[in-house]
Symmetry: none
Subunit: 211 residues, 2 copies
């Protein structure tokens, strides 16, 4: 296939972009004004070149009608290797440890890269679908998915805690000079809970929400 000039690539790119943004194709005059041309014939020249080189097709005389035969970014795409975790999503973790082996409450799976998610070991990691609004003030809503790393919490961490047999999100507070406690981040229900043995399941490292 014939290679495109820089200008022709720009025009083709604009066609693709416009189509994706607006759901339709641009008119000659819209292309003209976007590139600052002062004649629609400049547009005509580029479109004819694109058609001659096989990148687009047209229906003569038909307004706002193109067809892209060869996409602009079809060649490059340097695929890098990166460690992607495939972790289970649970609806609740009332039981104790969700070990993967005995994972009954799995409601889906999540793929995310370990590095940016702040997770250390795949085996000790899972995701949890949030119920309730206990952390609404820090932007974690009902239905969100949190990635949980099973590691000891530090002061200020958001943790998954087992309270009354239910797993809930709380902030772990462990200021020097006083006993550690759990705190809900919801100004309407400012709960406080003591930290009991084995109540902390893990530390939330990431939040994912599908809009």
């Amino acid at each position: 296939m014939d290679k495109l000039t820089v200008r022709q690539q720009e025009v083709l790119g604009y066609l693709q972009l416009y189509q994706r943004r607006c759901g339709t194709w641009p008119s000659f005059r819209e292309i003209e004004s976007h590139f600052g041309f002062r004649s629609t014939n400049a547009v005509m020249g580029h479109l004819r070149a694109l058609e001659r080189k096989g990148y687009i097709s047209r229906v003569p005389g038909q307004a706002r009608t193109f067809r892209i035969n060869l996409d602009l970014g079809d060649e490059e795409r340097p695929r890098e290797a990166m460690e992607v975790m495939d972790i289970p999503i649970y609806g609740n973790i009332a039981a104790g440890y969700p070990d993967g082996v005995e994972s009954s409450g799995e409601i889906g799976r999540l793929q995310i890269d370990a590095g940016s998610a702040g997770v250390r070991r795949t085996r000790h990691c899972y995701a949890l679908k949030v119920r309730g609004e206990s952390m609404i003030d820090v932007g974690i809503f009902d239905g969100d998915i949190v990635v949980v790393d099973q590691r000891p919490p530090r002061d200020g961490d958001i943790v998954v805690a087992l309270i009354d047999g239910e797993s809930t999100l709380k902030r772990f507070m462990n200021r020097p000079g006083s006993a550690a406690y759990l705190k809900a981040e919801n100004r309407n229900y400012p709960e406080l809970h003591p930290v009991s043995e084995l109540s902390i399941q893990g530390v939330a490292t990431s939040v994912v929400r599908h809009l």
Copy 2:
């Protein structure tokens, strides 16, 4: 949402079909001849009804231009195969196109599965690091990463919009009976913006926050 008559469903279906087949939208006269009408006004009536009931949007006077807000078969979404996407994360998209070719502002990469992220095509998708607090009331904070799908927005979608040369998150409002506008979800700064040509970069489909 108001219900459609049989005839109106047929017209909406024809719009969708034509778009899928031809990559563009039909003209009034093409719709007319397809249904055997003898007046373009018959077409006009149906399109006005579809718009009034919120199923489509139009740009008055613009040829072959529609936008489908409510798909005919929006219920049976066939659950796409789980596919991990590797997409770039940008800090800002002020320039114009984030094309991959000219991707200078890439600040990282994100791996996420396309199915649950609500994204359709890898090529038309990227991630954006949020700046500012314009969407703080819906739990999207400064520093969060949003997955952006480049597709036409529907009413209520959270979109990436180009305002004053900066890419910002806003909610796209397109209620039937009034002009579309953009709205910030921050009770302290309740901004409103008009929607201008090409100002909408894409629709936010997921939010990821690393705690």
